[in-house]
């Protein structure tokens, strides 16, 4: 195959269509000759509606130069279906493109269409494994995570698909406890998607998740991801924040409590790590929320915390903390 389709006898029967026929476009892009050539022929193909093996090659050629060309993807998908190309083969072919262009929407959407059409739990399970390799390269890739969640929900096979997810998340948080995508995935698996096999006892699940979050907060008390998960867990289960007052309190003081002198280790309330930088802003915010929920005389304590956040500990959000004060006082 020569460099340009225009020089290739195989394409001699297709009439290429220039992008702008009668218009002198504003803000044009300076395409390479190869890209211009390929998209001219692609417009020609779209006009006749051709779906053929050479159209598969052409769309791949365009996608490699511009993976965001959604029309090329769309026509490729239609062609794959029309030619009854084995879908597993197409998925396989797209693995390398997916890993090369993993920040592109279309790459992942194409796989989703293929998996939907394949409708195979085995393929879905293999895809989850493939996504692990992708997330190894980019642990916070948005589309990959959202696609992983879709696979779990769409195929929804408890033992084959969902069973390994919590362990996988724990591995990822072991590597980087600040990976917010992994925290979100945990919420998706544990709370947002119904009840997993073995998770029927919701009180036990709540205890487990609170312990998990507390343990991770103890490691790195200024990690917002873990605090947001803790808050989400409480709100989702309608648990008052005050249930955690004993745990949170040591994180709100500037001196970490003395460790090791006491024989009694309170497993429910792990203390801040030795390296903790205290007070932790998220802990102060949390404590103020406890006081606000309590209301009455406690409102004053919340106001004190918000004032210290506004004027000293978190001055970037001064306006917000002052709003919280106004809001609490007007509701008091």
């Amino acid at each position: 195959m020569s460099e340009l389709l225009a020089d290739d006898p195989e394409w001699a029967d297709v009439v290429p269509i220039r992008q702008y026929e009668d218009v002198n476009p504003i803000a044009p892009i300076f395409y390479s000759e190869e890209y211009k050539d390929a998209t001219d022929y692609f417009r020609g193909v779209l006009k006749t509606g051709e779906m053929s093996p050479r159209v598969l090659r052409l769309t791949e050629r365009i996608i490699r130069m511009n993976p965001a060309h959604y029309t090329a993807w769309q026509h490729r998908y239609k062609t794959v279906i029309a030619l009854k190309i084995p879908l597993e083969q197409e998925l396989e072919l797209m693995n390398e493109i997916a890993t090369t262009f993993l920040k592109t929407y279309q790459v992942w959407h194409h796989r989703r269409l293929l998996l939907t059409a394949l409708n195979s739990i085995d393929a879905a399970a293999r895809e989850l494994e493939f996504l692990k390799t992708v997330l190894r390269a980019d642990a916070k890739n948005y589309h990959t995570w959202s696609f992983r969640q879709w696979i779990l929900a769409h195929f929804n096979k408890e033992g084959r698909l969902w069973a390994g997810e919590r362990a996988y998340i724990e591995d990822l948080l072991e590597q980087d406890v600040r990976n917010n995508s992994a925290w979100h995935h945990r919420f998706f698996v544990v709370f947002a998607s119904g009840v997993r096999l073995g998770d029927e006892d919701r009180d036990q699940v709540l205890r487990r998740e609170l312990s998990f979050a507390k343990e991770k907060i103890a490691l790195a008390p200024n990690n917002s991801s873990a605090w947001n998960y803790l808050r989400g867990t409480l709100e989702h289960t309608n648990t008052p924040f005050s249930a955690l007052a004993v745990f949170v309190e040591p994180y709100t003081t500037s001196q970490p409590p003395s460790r090791g002198t006491d024989d009694v280790v309170d497993l429910d309330n792990p203390p801040p790590s030795a390296g903790a930088q205290l007070p932790a802003t998220p802990a102060l915010e949390f404590m103020a929320d406890i006081y606000e929920q309590e209301g009455g005389n406690a409102t004053g304590k919340a106001v004190e915390i918000w004032k210290s956040l506004a004027n000293e500990k978190d001055v970037m959000r001064k306006k917000y903390w002052e709003y919280r004060i106004r809001n609490a006082l007007s509701n008091a």
């Binding site: 989703r112 929804n156 947001n228």
Partner: protein, 521 residues
């Protein structure tokens, strides 16, 4: 006392997130001017030249990645000019209109380029670009928008859960919903059929963090989530089934979902019974307090110059100045914090003292740090050779140039809904004109339904037209020479451009924003 430029605490427990964060803080710190930010200058001329080069000479080859986003390249450039206060000559307008119309799809909507498939995102960018350069009449572009076909295109993308595909065979994504709702609002294409289920869908996209994700999973609550399933099949809905968010809270999606939510307020109030086809009468709701909290938590520390992040534990990026910084006022509006006020004429500029810092604290009800955000954009967001960027040392590009300048605008100007303005618009409302200009050929089932739709149109129009700058609240870091134009918080157009296209497509002649203003000074 926390010192001014303390790094993000790592608690002696470093991970890849914290080391990347630390590297970024080191780079940004080096961009803090030693003499302070009081004299930081917006390099308007360099940015103007950057935009002009792209528009006139075109985009270099690396922009091939944007070949399916050509209306966006145009929109980012044109609206960038508008924010910088630059007008365009008639010849440039004419060429731009012709270029945009070459991307209108024969079956409705706009495509990423000529010959490509229609798609919701370029449809928004093309219509907003036409709001900037177009006008009614021959060659003006506005009458060449095939609104009937565009509406049919929208309806062909509608899913059973209330969402929309971004294109045929495409994905569901709240960016698409925002683009559709913005365009349908601007072009008078809103109908109860189009909007059914949209609020419920959006509400399911809010995550436990308070921000929004890109889509939720419909399959358990609706019969299927097959994107190719016919949209006209009846919605069977199991309200007890979960509709989990796919993906974590994210700045871009949060803006799109929130702006959509604000645009839908008149619909949610007028059509409460539309919620849930199977008799569930609960009005869809979002957690607005959690939304506000999430937005303000995205603002970086002083060591990050108060730029915004797009997700928890990710890095600041200039584009989130708009997507998240610009979202704060929308959250305030939903909370009722943004009160009524007298609008300020555009010509009226604040009197600043020499430092341009007069009355920061008393004038300003915003719940994010407007001054810090301006500092990030001025000190870290500007590329020395022109154009704006994610963060140093990255190159400038068309996308970041717009969303940094729009974010700067949102930090300088507080634009909120004005009840007085809404009343003035409603007092001049012409219902029969608005009805006659409806672009959809939608036929209400009864006279009562027709009246309800007329009322919806009126409220949507009045709300969209009511956003105005709050008097006496503009703030300019680096002095008034850095002033850029205000931009509409919902559409990201200047109010001059949004007023113009709205008035035309609703057949209204609202009273001038600046007439009858009592002389106060």
């Amino acid at each position: 006392m926390v010192s001014q430029l303390d790094p993000t605490p790592t608690d002696g427990y470093g991970t890849s997130t914290s080391s990347l964060q630390r590297e970024t803080e080191d780079i940004i710190t080096r961009h803090i001017p030693t003499q302070g930010t009081a004299h930081a200058e917006l390099q308007k001329k360099l940015h103007f030249e950057f935009l002009l080069r792209n528009l006139r000479q075109g985009f270099p080859e690396r922009y091939t990645s944007q070949d399916a986003s050509q209306p966006w390249l145009i929109y980012w450039t044109l609206h960038g000019f508008s924010i910088l206060g630059v007008g365009l000559d008639d010849q440039t307008k004419k060429r731009t209109i012709e270029t945009l119309l070459a991307m209108q799809h024969p079956d409705g909507g706009f495509a990423g380029g000529p010959g490509q498939a229609a798609h919701l995102l370029p449809t928004y960018a093309a219509v907003c670009s036409l709001a900037v350069v177009g006008r009614p009449g021959d060659g003006g572009g506005w009458d060449a928008i095939d609104r009937k076909k565009m509406y049919d295109f929208f309806m062909s993308l509608k899913q059973r859960d209330g969402s929309f595909l971004v294109s045929h065979h495409g994905e569901v994504d709240v960016r698409g919903i925002y683009c559709l709702l913005s365009v349908a609002t601007l072009l008078n294409l809103l109908t109860p059929d189009l909007l059914a289920g949209v609020p419920e869908f959006l509400a399911t996209c809010q995550t436990y963090e308070g921000g929004f994700c890109n889509a939720s999973f419909p399959g358990w609550a609706f019969e299927a989530d097959d994107p190719e399933a016919p949209s006209d099949s009846p919605r069977t809905y199991d309200p007890s089934a979960p509709r989990p968010p796919l993906g974590e809270a994210h700045g871009g999606y949060t803006f799109c979902a929130t702006a959509s939510w604000v645009l839908l307020q008149p619909y949610i109030k007028l059509y409460p019974s539309a919620a849930g086809d199977s008799g569930s009468s609960s009005t869809p709701a979002i957690n607005t307090r959690a939304l506000l909290r999430w937005c303000v938590q995205m603002q970086g520390l002083p060591i990050e110059l108060g730029g915004f992040k797009g997700r928890t534990n990710k890095l600041v990026d200039g584009c989130y100045s708009w997507w998240v910084g610009g979202c704060v006022v929308l959250a305030e509006t939903l909370l009722g914090v943004a009160g009524t006020h007298e609008s300020v004429p555009e010509e009226h500029h604040e009197e600043n003292d020499e430092d341009g810092q007069k009355a920061w604290d008393d004038a300003d009800d915003s719940l994010f740090n407007r001054k810090a955000l301006q500092e990030y954009i001025l000190c870290a967001g500007q590329h020395p050779a022109g154009g704006l960027r994610d963060k140093p040392p990255k190159p400038a590009d068309a996308y970041h140039t717009l969303y940094c300048t729009a974010g700067l605008s949102a930090a300088q100007h507080r634009v909120i809904p004005s009840e007085a303005r809404a009343k003035a618009v409603i007092s001049a409302w012409n219902a029969s004109q608005a009805h006659a200009k409806d672009g959809t050929a939608y036929a209400p089932s009864s006279d009562a339904e027709r009246e309800r739709l007329d009322e919806l149109r009126k409220r949507i129009f009045a709300h969209a037209m009511s956003w105005s700058e709050e008097e006496g609240t503009a703030v300019y870091v680096g002095g008034a020479a850095n002033r850029v134009n205000a931009t509409h918080p919902l559409f990201n157009l200047t109010v001059t451009h949004s007023d113009g296209i709205l008035s035309y497509f609703y057949g209204q002649t609202p009273p001038s924003r600046y007439a009858n203003k009592p002389a106060t000074k």
